[in-house]
């Protein structure tokens, strides 16, 4: 079983600050995905990273896949209260294996 370690587990910062959360593993992945789950809702896909070293931007969110394809990071610039949620790193083994999730980073952005 490939394990995904996410850090920090909890993060509470003020609106306007920048932050980075991490997803690490000792295994190599063909791709990783990031989902965000807001309270009372299901996870929603943010991005899929496929190529080692790849950087993808989604407005104020920047996702990076490690060169060795063992880790990924999510950087948020000028965080806003709407960014509050549970950020989940995940991979799929394909073939309807479903998703294997990390334990997530609980992010709270205070106004």
């Amino acid at each position: 079983t490939q394990l995904l370690e996410q850090s920090p587990q909890f993060l509470s910062i003020q609106e306007g600050e920048n932050l980075t959360v991490y997803c690490n593993s000792s295994s190599v992945f063909s791709s990783l995905q990031w989902y965000r789950q807001e309270p009372g809702e299901g996870p929603v896909l943010l991005v899929t990273v496929v190529t080692g070293g790849e950087v993808k931007k989604l407005k104020r969110l920047t996702f990076q896949f490690g060169d060795a394809r063992k880790d990924s990071s999510l950087h948020i610039t000028a965080a806003q209260p709407g960014d509050t949620g549970l950020y989940l790193c995940t991979y799929s083994g394909g073939g309807a294996d479903g998703l294997t999730f990390g334990k997530g980073t609980h992010l709270i952005i205070q106004p």
């Binding site: 299901g42 083994g93 309807a96 479903g98 997530g104």
Partner: protein
């Protein structure tokens, strides 16, 4: 125009009872899943169905039985509910079984066992 809908949203019942959770998707996807999210928000795959065929079963007790009347529906039936079954159950669907296929989740069913 909800993509993946689950009912009920909340389910409170007593230990030993049998209950079902329904899931429907209108995305035309051919693969559906059930996940369990525990009190620490850890999400774990339970089942997946592809074209009405069970693909995986991740060491889930046989008290849990998924039933798919057609590819747009995947219901979850639970027999003899136990305290440890309290959790949020999420249904999801995807188009195909490729590694990078995005999964679309419902809003969850919050099951509480008294």
């Amino acid at each position: 125009d909800t993509a993946v809908s689950q009912t009920p949203k909340y389910l409170v019942t007593q230990m030993g009872n049998d209950k079902s959770i329904k899931c429907e998707q209108n995305l035309g996807h051919d693969t559906m899943y059930w996940y369990k999210q525990d009190s620490k928000k850890f999400l774990k795959i339970m089942f997946s169905y592809n074209n009405k065929e069970l693909i995986i079963n991740e060491t889930v007790p046989n008290r849990f039985s998924p039933k798919s009347p057609d590819k747009a529906h995947l219901n979850l039936h639970i027999n003899s509910l136990e305290l440890g079954d309290s959790a949020v159950y999420f249904c999801a669907s995807s188009h195909g079984t490729g590694v990078n296929q995005p999964q679309h989740f419902g809003d969850g069913t919050r099951l509480s066992i008294l």
